[in-house]
């Protein structure tokens, strides 16, 4: 019964999402509740810099098209949310929540992802040091053991999603978690290192051989950036 309800809602919100928004935008112009917009962050390296682990073509499409669509859609739905807020339209606000979660999550996840990757010439693949290295050893015995578990988690994702090394803010421990679609790491867990397991992240280069992508990406992991997130 739940699944029927969910599916119906999905169709309805899809229809709503496809409706023209021009009048909404015009109505918003000049109002005071339009907030700062999210923007696509620049990559800290060239599109081709992660080759051969990730091809330049994948990086370009992934950053310029996929990530940018999340940014644009997030801004669009945030604007609609502000309008619904202004009108105290509870139903509209609730209907917008999954769209903000999805597109806002897509923006957050990709922003963190670009940052926790680096070309080998800029330290990509160099193992972590300091407190994060210690926490990984404490939790998994070794970096290699952690990577193996991480790759198993990645391979086990059914559909689109991400795997993250997260820090439990209650215990301080690190652990591996998978998230569906663009669900972001928020709340109790702090994102340390994320790997995108959506097909668009690897398909042009690896097709159905995703295990090869999961193996190759460790050569361009920026452990320094991950270490800075660890508290």
């Amino acid at each position: 019964m739940n699944s029927t309800l969910l599916r119906t809602t999905a169709v309805r919100s899809a229809l709503r999402a496809a409706a023209p928004k021009a009048s909404t935008r015009a109505g918003l112009a000049g109002t005071t509740f339009v907030r700062g917009k999210a923007t696509l962050p620049d990559l800290p390296y060239d599109y081709g810099a992660l080759e051969p682990s990730i091809s330049g073509k994948i990086m370009e499409l992934h950053h310029k098209n996929h990530h940018n669509t999340y940014v644009t859609s997030y801004n669009n739905f945030t604007e609609q949310m502000a309008e619904a807020e202004h009108k105290s339209d509870i139903a509209a606000k609730i209907a917008l929540q999954p769209l903000i979660n999805f597109h806002g999550g897509g923006h957050l996840n990709h922003s963190l992802f670009w940052e926790n990757l680096a070309p080998t010439s800029q330290g990509g693949g160099e193992p972590p040091s300091g407190p994060l290295a210690q926490a990984i050893n404490d939790g998994y015995g070794s970096l290699d053991a952690m990577k193996e578990k991480f790759n198993t988690a990645l391979a086990g994702i059914q559909g689109s999603g991400w795997a993250w090394l997260v820090q439990d803010t209650q215990t301080g421990n690190v652990m591996i978690q998978t998230y569906a679609n663009q669900d972001p790491v928020v709340g109790r867990f702090r994102p340390i290192l994320g790997i995108d397991a959506w097909e668009h992240a690897y398909y042009l280069q690896y097709q159905n051989r995703k295990a090869e992508y999961f193996k190759a990406i460790w050569d361009v992991i920026n452990w320094k950036a991950a270490g800075k997130r660890f508290k």
Binding site: S3, A10, L15, A18, N65, E199, L204, N208
Partner: protein, 250 residues
Amino acid sequence: MRGSSGVAATFWSFLSISSSVLALEQQPFQFEAMSVPTYTLPPLPYAYDALEPHISAQIMELHHGKHHQTYITNLNAALKSQAEAVHAADITTQVALQQGIKFNAGGHINHSLFWQNLAPASSVDAKSSAAPKLLKQIQATWGDEAKFKEAFNAALLGIQGSGWGWLIKVETGKEQRLAIVTTKDQDPVVGKGEVPIFGVDMWEHAYYLQYLNGKAAYVQNIWNVINWKTAEERFLGTRADAFKVLKASI
């Protein structure tokens, strides 16, 4: 709505599978000797390049030969583990296996239905005129074919992550209605009274090599290769009729 030919087909497919079911049931206490049915990849009803230019041969070959095959391989492994867990009265393992069975069986079911509800654009089956009765109910439900496609496309483009869009027939007693539904990941359409009429795969592997992030173009073009003849048959038939391709691939 249901024609007598549909009933007859169900009856015969029931007879053909019942013999194998009986064979299993004859030896309920010799479990070790019992083999778990294994599923095999159903052949495509057309060549890999037959859906060009709307779906490239490279996509079709990977999608059928690799992706679909992987679901079947993983399903067979999970079913074998399940049979062992049942035999060992290991209830926790049985429960732990359920999600994997649902995912991989769903992948097998969905793709098997999908290949059959596609057809080369040049064939008469790919014209909506091949589904006169279905079209009549589509018009009664959505106004006209264009409005139906618009609603279907919006549903497809609204999927967040991997999933499928389906036109389904829902039977409640003597009533029946059409509905557009989306399902996540590989969840199959198996609800009570639900008959899948046609499905569109919205996983990125279904279009990415050709359309990249331009999924709206894929959604637009897929209509050129929808097999309306299959759709009409599923609309007029029963659930068992729609799923008979699965029985054939055991």
